[in-house]
Symmetry: C2
Subunit: 501 residues, 2 copies
């Protein structure tokens, strides 16, 4: 109890001392409210859980969803780094709506059935994407409406914040002691539904539902620094480059926002709906994919001018607006579900992967990963590019493929052994020290990237949504749909793993 | 700080001692989780704030939204009741997403504009309906995802609970030490939107979005007793009669659920969409209104068999599924917006009030309250019946009318002086000791029920959504869209008010 009291004393201090910035005020604003220390949404800051200076290891910043423009969330540490980060740590942090990891069925299975209940838990109560790791701190966004900063070594909470209740479906960006969150839910309100029925191109997702937009917090204590509101949802994670954040929203807009001030630099309306497709920046170009009008756009990061526009022929549903383009060495790789067709009474789809020249938009190759049954919610796979190969999965076939990024030739196909009723293969693989790591279903896998042969598997429990393993030194960090943040040693998945001493 | 510590010690006890029932487990289930005392969604129970036995005054149960089948939420107390309840108390309790009452503009005004931002705050962050008062305790549901039990005398928190994060848009029902909450949001997911575009009658609101349904809690400490999941949203408040709860849902179903066990007695699929229209029970009939297929149904409470079906010709949008039918002495009164027409480039609507014979469904009269500009979100007015008169407002005309319940003759019309950009007049008036009380916009009004003449006004701040003043003895209790629960003496609104000593 004395332990608890000291924690709560800190909570009281955090809540009483203007946890929100002088110029920023959001519901619930704790200033001047005697009941603040008990407010569930007041920012909670526990400074003693912050990492010591020697433990502030790993990347210095986090600029893109899935760890970078190529979506490879792997970060080596030096041989002088502390032993814990080299050997790996193991912990599970329960977030606000944590559901026991031992439960195989999501909470809503009793009413929606397992297949539909899986995305409900991912989209409304747990972590949709993976986590960011910067300077010994794990940052996570959860659809429980909170963002978390966790000590990467101990798994203890440093701060949590819920600036304005909304789902936080992204991978927090971090730079220069600031954290950027993107807020928006999968929802439409009735007015937009009737609008959609009249003109699908005119409706925007997330409008008039909740307080969407980008929230900038202090990485140190979770204090809100600025808020950039958007009418449509900001489900995708922004991209950070050239001092600006680039974000697409559910009402068809693409914004550039100054990262220090939250002031808009430009906005370009391209139409369609942003779902979970996060923009990617490469050499003063930002690549953004949208649904309904299924297009990928290259915009000039300085002006917002559209440089080129591409599509994937036959792209269906939200396929194009869900998947984030991966970019490396002048090539953009994108995929989308396409060609809906009923086969034996069941809806089926293809997954089409396409590579574009980043400068011109010229199509380099197109590849069909194969046909399979339609799955609920996110239907594509996030591509990752590493050393001339694209690694990409698809929940339609519940398989991953390795594809030559120049030729489009498939090197191998690996079928996820336990795909489950909603399919597996959404998250990007992570390439680290000669091995490919994949988190899908309740498991993490290690594959030989040359053959696609499985090297190892570790059962975590819960479910991984559009989650890439974030690897720092000897640890894999993950966000879980059951509303947990998980850390496990790389060697738990790949027994042959060791870092040079 | 010592005060805080003792509160928190209680919090720790509540969280550590199996706050959820042995047979019920929901995210977040606090059992076996070391971090529970800090979990924002763990049930918080502060027993010392419960009322003393002499303060357990007011109604013994709460069976319908707006206080009863006739929607008159007024409850006299005896001359022997404690002085505080006779004279009235004054307090404001900030809920989890409280926005300062002094702020005239809702938080989202900066992005949605005031007109659209008002319903966003009501529907996603604050109290949509008024509060229930039973035995000296105020019970409230908020769209901040929490339910609250507050000491009616002191305004102090007794417990708060958020069984599964979802908006709670109702007026809690209370009976026999149990509290019933209805969970569901205004949202559609994309799959339902595309379904709606193909067939508006087939789509259901709230499906695959979150954990909808009815939650039964202990009135004593907020502990979850049972959960009845529904696929579509359960935005309306159920009706309680004959040992069962009757609820309509966003996927067109009407359920009867045993109030003790949560076991389904029957379900009748009528189609359409339930919005905010709460069922009303009268003599083994339950009256339920739905949208999209704009109908009112009378069902047998014992079997779920449809006894009769009525409509309002030309009913538009969600009008019919938003308004709860009022029932008294064999007459059902219902209204809905109708006849959408563009006038001078602006969308306009009528508000049509209609009375039916409760036994046969025969239409007794139909009255047009007048045409006005379309308003966002809830577009009707909740009717209240008292001593042969219907009192009903409309945000389309921002006016209230008194109508003879037998003839449909209008006695008077009163225009809300400060209607605001989203219109005023949604909540039912409350008739109490010869005066009519109305909460709309940021104000509470007192009217002479014979003439419609204004007697007094009190400015509370924030906004009242579909809120009826709940009057117990000398106090008016209210739920506020700014996420507060407000208590004020009746005499603050009506200076001539006094209770006999």
């Amino acid at each position: 109890m004395s332990h608890l009291r000291s924690i709560v004393a800190l909570l009281a201090v955090a809540a009483g001392s203007a946890a929100f910035g002088a110029d920023v005020s959001v519901p619930h604003d704790p200033r001047g409210n005697l009941l603040d220390p008990l407010s569930p949404f007041a920012t909670l800051y526990l400074p003693r859980n912050a990492p010591s200076p020697v433990d502030r290891v790993g990347p210095k910043r986090w600029t893109h969803a899935y760890g970078g423009p190529n979506h490879n969330a792997a970060f080596a540490v030096s041989a002088r780094a502390p032993a814990w980060i080299r050997h790996g740590v193991s912990w599970n942090f329960p977030e606000a709506r944590a559901w026991p990891l031992s439960k195989e069925r999501p909470f809503g299975a009793q009413i929606y059935g397992i297949k539909e209940a899986l995305p409900v838990q991912t989209q409304s109560y747990g972590n949709a994407l993976g986590v960011s790791v910067v300077g010994g701190v794990v940052y996570a966004e959860s659809d429980d409406s909170f963002a978390y900063a966790i000590n990467a070594r101990t798994g203890h909470l440093i701060w949590r914040a819920s600036p304005v209740g909304n789902t936080l479906m992204g991978n927090p960006l971090v730079n220069d002691n600031r954290v950027y969150l993107s807020a928006g839910s999968v929802a439409f309100n009735f007015a937009n539904v009737t609008l959609y029925a009249r003109d699908p191109h005119a409706a925007g997702r997330g409008k008039d539902i909740s307080y969407n937009g980008i929230y900038c917090l202090s990485a140190h204590d979770g204090k809100l620094l600025w808020y950039f509101p958007t009418a449509g949802d900001a489900m995708p994670t922004p991209a950070l480059a050239y001092g600006a954040l680039y974000i697409s929203t559910g009402d068809g807009n693409i914004y550039a926002i100054d990262e220090r001030t939250g002031v808009k630099r430009w906005v370009t309306h391209v139409g369609g709906i942003a779902n979970m497709s996060s923009p990617t920046v490469w050499r003063h170009r930002v690549f953004v994919a949208m649904s309904v009008l299924p297009n990928i756009y290259a915009l000039d990061t300085r002006t917002g001018r559209i440089l080129w526009r591409g599509s994937i022929p036959g792209a269906a549903n939200t396929g194009m607006g869900d998947v984030s383009p991966a970019v490396a060495r002048g090539i953009v790789v994108m995929d989308a579900v396409a060609h809906p067709r009923t086969v034996d009474g069941h809806p089926t789809l293809d997954t089409i992967v396409r590579a574009y020249d980043a400068r011109s938009g010229r199509v380099l190759w197109t590849h069909d990963m194969g046909r399979g049954p339609k799955v609920p919610a996110f239907k594509g796979g996030v591509p990752m590019i590493h050393r001339g190969m694209v690694y990409v999965g698809s929940p339609i076939t519940s398989a991953y493929q390795a594809i030559n990024v120049r030729s489009g030739q498939v090197a191998w196909t690996w079928h996820v052994p336990h795909a489950g009723p909603a399919g597996a293969g959404r998250g990007a693989p992570t390439y680290y020290r000669g091995v490919l790591y994949i988190s899908t279903g309740p498991d993490v896998y290690a594959l030989d990237p040359r053959s696609g042969r499985s090297i190892g598997r570790h059962h975590v429990g819960g479910r991984f949504g559009i989650v890439s393993p974030t690897i720092v030194g000897g640890t894999i960090y993950l966000g879980n749909s059951w509303d947990w943040i998980d850390a496990l040693p790389v060697k738990a998945v790949n027994p042959r793993f060791h870092l040079p001493l």
